[in-house]
């Protein structure tokens, strides 16, 4: 399973970022989300949505094996084991592993699905 994004439908509203942050941290803060929207304006006028593809590069480079898979098959960073070396951030080809304000360990998508619930434009979906 992984998260998919159809960038052509995105209107850049960031509800997915808010949902992600609130789901994991009970905080309203778009800087604490494990996906990203990159706007390209004024030209060519489109949004680019970046999501975790569960490629596993992060787990491969983790020096302390702190990135196991959960029961949905999603890689996640175990904060107990993570030494905050940030190797996974550099390795992520989608740039969707984030260092978030107020926390040493980075954070990535665990397929909780809340971003999908809050997207009004049907940009996001979880599938095989």
């Amino acid at each position: 399973m992984r998260l998919y994004a159809d960038s052509s439908k995105c209107s850049g509203c960031k509800a997915c970022l808010l949902a992600c942050a609130f789901s994991h941290f009970r905080e309203n803060n778009i800087r604490k989300a494990a996906l990203a929207i990159v706007p390209h304006f004024p030209s060519p006028g489109k949004y680019e949505v970046r999501v975790c593809t569960q490629c596993g590069e992060c787990a491969k480079v983790c020096p302390v094996d702190a990135i196991p898979q959960n029961d949905k098959g999603a890689y996640y960073i175990d904060p107990e084991l993570c030494i905050a070396c940030d190797a996974c951030i550099d390795a992520c080809p989608e740039h969707v592993i984030f260092k978030i304000p107020g926390r040493d360990q980075p954070f990535e998508c665990d397929l909780c699905g809340e971003c999908v619930n809050f997207c009004g434009m049907n940009v996001l979906s979880i599938a095989e």
């Binding site: 439908k9 509203c13 309203n28 803060n29 997207c119 009004g120 434009m121």
Partner: protein, 607 residues
């Protein structure tokens, strides 16, 4: 303070002093935020009689308690000041992503004071706040400036800018954000220009606290679910505000040739469906909005990108100037955005000049050779440039149609379509008494944002003059500004039919203060009445006559379309006002009674 950042940022441009002050809890309780905070600070801090373009005026940019949160449409904020256009209150609402970023940076409002000796922009990165030199940006367009600042500072920064219109103190200059969203009305951009502030750039990383996270989470789910399941979602997402263009044209509410009639023979070329197919390239939403009305377009004919056009711009720059090609309207929209002038007032100004020209009140000599016939797109574009740069006839039109008509005279006052000095937005009101009353009594001038009552007119009979109609207008005047005070968009309620009372438990989950929907409406009524008192304080002789509509609607019958031959008799105008004042608890001259002020807890404040 839950729901709030808890801090006001005060920027004195004269001295370059930047202060952070705690947000007064009682003020937040009594006026909520956004629209309410704006008038509170104007009332308490801007001295009576201040010159709108002088150092005493203040520009107040306020977020609301819902701004930046996981609430549908929580991307709204309000810019308030004493209006250079009307001499009374100006409050302009804008969406986008600026309000969220201001709160994430740790501020509920930014108050600009004084006048900077040189062009500056305000840089905010969380606690770091600086006034930076903007000499290299001065003179540049709004969109261009935003692009430069994003490249310089980073994509995460949210930017608000003025264009040449604001720099040149065009009385209806706007503030532009996110490549095409505007705090449009009342000249907030001229006040920013007078203060020599070219832009604001802000980024934040802080969390906005809510009182009851679990209750908030549950309500957020319910509200987004309701939006996503709403019947109207699909069409609204596809067309946004342009969904009403065809409806307005068909019922005779689409301003045409300076509001002479409400139906345009080339109207079908401007409909939302045509626009979507011909020029729209992506949907562009405000913060946390499940139903983005923003449509981002590219016009091949003119080779520019533009957000929109929105319905209002289609109505005022399009049909009202008799431009019958959506690509020309898109280009007119682009010019207004880049030049930093409000497309509603600017469209009115051009249409007014066109009518003067066709009636022979303005000659080719007056227009600098422009052939200002209705429908001449090239002449309209040239005139928009002249307005923003205050050249020739543009210099006069930059003052607004009220002042322009007073100078031109010869009866042109009767077709200067404005109330209190503010040009009327996109609904033709020869025969739509609730909408007409909404324009007459809106607290900024003739703007629909405070009460969009045109559908109600069609529902209950256009020419009816009855207490229910007046009550409807007053209710809308409390609901809509309440959204502007909470910092959320009203369109999920208006267009998707979301139960408006859901916002009361949401506000309670956010702020920790239990208030009913009626309690919140009472706060909105307090704000409305304080704003009325502001007009009375600032405008000599203010009263009933200031609520009169443009004579166009009671003297000159509509010239075509479904309303052909119709008007609203002046006696009906007077009846509407009598009923309105009575229901509001105001006297015959439209002045709030001491009893009403006491009921709203305003006695001390207005003393």
């Amino acid at each position: 303070m839950n729901g709030y950042a808890g801090t006001i940022l005060r920027v004195n441009l004269t001295t370059s002093e930047i202060r952070k002050e705690p947000l007064d809890e009682k003020v937040a309780r009594d006026f909520l935020g956004g629209r309410g905070l704006g008038i509170y600070y104007l009332w308490t801090e801007v001295p009576k009689g201040a010159d709108p373009l002088g150092p005493e005026n203040k520009l107040v940019a306020s977020t609301g308690p819902l701004s930046g949160l996981l609430v549908p449409g929580a991307g709204k904020m309000d810019w308030a000041c004493k209006s250079p256009l009307t001499g009374g209150y100006a409050g302009a609402s804008v969406g986008g992503h600026l309000t969220a970023e201001i709160k994430y940076a740790g501020y509920d409002a930014i108050i600009f004071e004084g006048i900077s000796p040189k062009p500056v922009y305000l840089f905010i990165d969380d606690d770091r706040v600086e006034l930076r030199d903007a000499s290299d940006l001065w003179g540049k367009g709004s969109i261009t400036t935003e692009e430069i600042l994003k490249k310089r500072l980073g994509e995460e920064f949210q930017i608000a800018t003025i264009g040449p219109g604001g720099e040149n103190l065009v009385k209806y200059a706007c503030i532009t954000h996110d490549f095409g969203r505007q705090a449009g009305r009342g000249g907030v951009g001229a006040v920013m220009g007078a203060k020599k502030v070219k832009a604001v750039a802000v980024r934040g990383s802080k969390t906005i606290p809510v009182a009851d996270p679990e209750r908030f989470w549950e309500l957020a789910h319910a509200m987004f679910r309701a939006c996503k399941e709403a019947e109207g979602l699909g069409p609204w997402q596809r067309y946004g505000t342009t969904i009403v263009t065809s409806w307005c044209d068909e019922v005779g509410a689409l301003p045409t040739r300076n509001f002479q009639q409400g139906s345009f023979e080339q109207g079908p070329n401007l409909y939302g469906q045509v626009m979507r197919e011909r020029i729209v390239i992506t949907d562009k939403g405000c913060f946390a909005c499940p139903s983005p009305c923003g449509k981002y377009s590219y016009t091949k004919k003119h080779g520019v990108f533009v957000e929109g056009p929105e319905y209002e711009t289609i109505a005022l720059v399009g049909s009202n100037c008799a431009l019958g090609d959506i690509e020309d309207v898109a280009y007119g929209n682009y010019l207004c955005d880049e030049l930093g002038i409000d497309s509603i007032s600017a469209g009115n100004a051009v249409a007014f000049a066109m009518e003067c020209y066709e009636r022979g009140l303005l000659t080719p000599e007056d227009t600098g050779g422009l052939d200002l016939r209705f429908g001449n797109a090239q002449a309209a574009f040239a005139l928009l440039e002249k307005i923003a740069r205050r050249e020739g006839l543009g210099n006069l039109l930059a003052e607004g149609v009220k002042v322009a008509s007073q100078r031109i005279g010869q009866g042109s006052e009767e077709f200067a379509v404005q109330v209190k000095g503010m040009e009327q937005s996109g609904y033709e009101t020869h025969n739509a008494t609730a909408m007409l009353l909404a324009y007459m009594t809106a607290d900024v001038g003739a703007h629909h944002n405070r009460a969009w009552a045109i559908t109600y007119d069609l529902q209950v009979g256009r020419d009816r003059v009855a207490p229910e109609k007046v009550a409807r207008v007053i209710l809308l005047q409390h609901i809509r500004p309440l959204f502007d005070s909470m910092g959320a968009c009203r369109l999920q309620w208006v267009e998707l039919g979301i139960d408006v009372t859901q916002y009361a438990p949401m506000m309670a989950a956010v702020t920790g203060i239990e208030r009913s929907w009626e309690d919140l409406l009472k706060i909105s009524e307090r704000t409305w009445n304080l704003t009325r008192m502001y007009w009375i304080r600032e405008v000599e002789g203010f009263g009933r006559t200031w609520d009169y509509p443009a004579p166009r609607f009671y003297k000159h019958p509509s010239t075509g379309g479904p309303t052909k031959g119709q008007l609203t008799p002046f006696e009906a105008v007077q009846q509407l006002l009598d009923m309105y004042y009575e229901q509001r608890g105001w006297d015959k001259n439209g002045i709030p009674t001491p009893e009403k002020l006491a009921e709203l807890g305003l006695t001390e404040l207005v003393r």
